[in-house]
Amino acid sequence: MHKQLNELRDAFHKSTEEIQTLKDLEAIRVQYLGKKGRLTIALKGMGKLSPEERPTVGKLANVIRGEIEKTIQEKKEWLEEKKIDLEIQNEKLDITLPGRMPERGHRHPLNLVMSDLEKIFIGMGFSIAEGPEIEWSEYNFDHLNMPAEHASRDLQETFYYTEDIVLRTQTSPVQIRVMENNRPPLRIISPGRVYRSDEVDATHSPVFHQMEGLVIDQNITMSDLKGTLSLFAQKLFGDTVKTRFRPHQFYFTEPSAEMDVSCFKCGGTGCRVCGSGWIELLGCGMVHPNVLRHCDIDPNVFSGFAFGMGLERVAMTKYEINDLRLLFENDKRFLEQF
């Protein structure tokens, strides 16, 4: 019996040497370990052995069984890996071929600028206020301290819906609505569409966008105005940007100023974008006491500042867009650049 088992072992090892496929390996497994396999049959013959022989033969049989199982397992893993190695050979890629980018849309440059500005001001504690684009002429002019006979009220300057209703020429009426309905402290920005009766050309459009801001609190000074707006300019164009304030005139504010920023392209030495080294960015000033009084805010207790800028101009300067009409044409090749 010993001899028989040892022969079986030798035969097994011999037959596995040449195995090249998982299928042949499986056949050998069945041949030895299957229900009718050689080792299974051999073990069935154990009953015929004497009680003395049985333990030693049994032991040998188990050793051989373990050996066969182990060899088959090892052989199986080897064959599987060999198969993968073969498959890999057929999976060569030219990794320099272009990738497939998931499609994405693009934000409009004007709205990109608008959301940049919104983020900066929200970071400084401002909220975003909105109001109607078709507005009472009272809100668009009178409450903003605009003289009754001012030329900007002319039919040549402002679009009228009725005698008393205009397309707002600035987003400032939103500030009036905010001041009428809320008490200080106030910090708001009001971005939006405005309208003026200008024919379309490379720098004008009857529809354009502004962002205005308003701060009202106790003890707000002109130096706060300067500090806040200079900080804003640095956040928008970078820390090295310088600002300068020039006296100006607006009906809504007194004193009034215009703020220039040093050119963020050339650093202020003068270039194609800026000309003189400075770029006019916004108008601003301390809110006129007549405006506060109209909104029932006591100018002896509260003060504040307001500012406003044209977003088309900011976008055109920032991205060096030379014709405003491009912003409204919506050619895909333009839109996809942003």
């Binding site: 929200i122 400084m124 009228y160 209703i165 397309l167 459009s205 005139q249 301390m286 050619d331």
Partner: protein, 797 residues
Amino acid sequence: MQVTFKWLKDYVEIDTTPEDLAERITMSGTCVETLEEVAPKVQGIVAGKIDTIEKHPEADKLWVCTVSVGKEKPITIITSATNVFADATVPVAVVGATIANGDTMTEVAFRGITSQGMFCSVEEMGLNTSLFSKEQIEGIYIFDEPLTPGTDIKSYMWGDDHILEVEITANRSDCQSIYGIAKEVSATLDTPICAPKLHPMGEAEGEIQNYLSVEIASKKCSRYHATMFRVKKIEPSPHWMQVRLLNAAVRPINNIVDVTNFVMLETGQPLHAFDYESLKSKKIVVREAGKDETVVTLDNKERALKPDMLMITNGTYPVAVAGIMGGANSEITKETELVLLESACFDKTSVRLTSQRLGLRSESSSRFEKGLYPNLVEQATARATELLLSIGACELIDGYIDVYPEKQQPVSIEVSAQWINDFIGIDISRKEMILYLKRLFIEVQTDPDNEDKMTVYPPDYRQDLEIREDIAEEVARLYGYNNIPNTIMGGTTLVGGKTRDQQLEELLTDVLIGSGYSETLTTSFTNLPHLVDLRLADEKDQVVQLLNPLGEDNSMMRNTLMAHQLEIIQTNYNHKNTRGRFFEIAMTYHHNDDPKGLPIEKERCVISAYDGIDFFGLKGLVERIFASLGIDGVEYKVGETALFHPYRNADIYIKDQCIGTLGEVHPIIVKNHRLPRRTYICELDCEMLYEAAQLEVRYIDLPRYPSSSRDIALVLDEGVPSGDVVKIIESHNNGMIESIDLFDVYVGDQIEKGKKSLAYSIVFRLPERTLTDEDIQGVMDSILKDLNEKLDAKLRD
């Protein structure tokens, strides 16, 4: 406003360069937009006296001149000009000189004779040809007076000046003059100023009364001041005055007209000179125009007048349009013997509206429009009188007439120095403030008992100074805006941020951008016929029509965003751009039935696409939007939007409220508007969308028991919508149905004609136990029975 550097220097000491001056006055509030040297290229042109002139021996059309140009020997110039003559003084560009176009002169031989330069025309000297007469600009310029040969023409004609283009803000009408700006320069540089010399006008009335009476019959004229002169000689004005006018872009005419223009530029007060005899009456009446009146203005155009336009009349008919332009009937001519000089103050709005309605603007009207002050009137008269007498043009007829019904009252403002410091955010002494104000001719009175208080008296020309904030601005701008420290606001800390709707709008934008759609920007204008053409409106619709649109095409405020999206698609398709995917979130504007209300504005989102997309591609995007905003229970019903293909469109409902529409553009509209064959558009109402949004997320336990699924293939009439089938299946959900998914739609040979097959996979699950076949079979049986009864659905074999 155009001012010249040298003219400013006549009144104010300027101890710096034009560039530095421009920078400094810009920073103190007088914004210099451009600064240019006059005729920057011209150099070396000199005055030459033609000594002899002879025909060129070898050429018919050339002349050989010997010309004295101030050198030892005369030079030779060859010319083809026909207007030069012996003894004439002409501008000569000698060898080495540069003319206006940048050409530098060299010796040139003409048929054997060498020309050592050339004679110059107005244009070659770099002068503005529009400021000269026709004879003066054709041919060589000939000087009116003999000049010393060799005189440098650039400094003679322009005085080597610089021109500053200055932006004057609406509140500073007093700066519409050289002297007004000189005062700003003086305040900025802190240097002395010297006022123009005035003639002492003496007493009113006098001899003039024999010639004239003046009546103001309209509130639109606050003051009318008249003086009269006897003409000594009408001739060109002196050279120095012509140079000043030319550099201010005003054409010299004759000594009398030039003085009125000079004084207007210098003081800001427009003047008008009438030929007294041609007035044909002894009076001036300022009144509003009558019905059907006309006047021929100095530019020889007949103007039809409207009843509220302000006129200067001779008591019978108009002789000038007040503040805008004189009449041709009373113009100064060479024969004029008596001059009536008008210096008056007219209402700014009246002048602006009249000038606008007549389409007639002048240097005078543009000054009146900004608003002048009545006290300027007499200064201007005194200055004009001084000039007319000193240049020898006229003699004054004794006295003057001054009709000035309501005198301008001086203003005083109380202001605290501490308040100025607190308001501006600086810390300077009252003494320093007073110094700044004095530089601006603002008088300050202080109270010895109160170290803080100031009583401020602005000069009469500063009508913009009314309240303490105005005074704070004057102090701040002379202190220097850029010397004010930059500080960060104190006070209450505010959180700021976006409202819920603003956040949802941002989310909606992100979803669309992330899905491959690009944001667009369009105007708010459209027109009703265009919308009717697109079947988006009816001619009778009540819409928001503007009273004064820029053309009929832009006459209406849009009530839909779809029309502009079609234009965008058209543009892109036309430019051969592929795969158009666009959106815009913007307002639409709607008629308000309440006559007391503003028009209604609605925020909407429009989405459009062509190329590589179908109805379900766009519908899928809409579903993505709803999913991202946490909105469910959305229903789609075939709608009636006539822009769309009748079988490929849907109205979108949330809880029985229509919140938008989507569809394929109707093939006829596609054809008429040259759109891509398959064009898809969707428009959603943002406010309804935001209202329905549900962004709060709550975690639901993951299932612990397995699910079971059943697939059914149904045969139905082709017209039965899948939505109806799903609704019936859904109605049998007793808590076991987890999902219902359509996975196949089939129409074809395998089934009966007029029928279709829809296949669904229904997934069942219970949270508390494993389902049995019996559980599921019960539900399936009732679903199939119901589908059969209601939709005549049969299981496919």
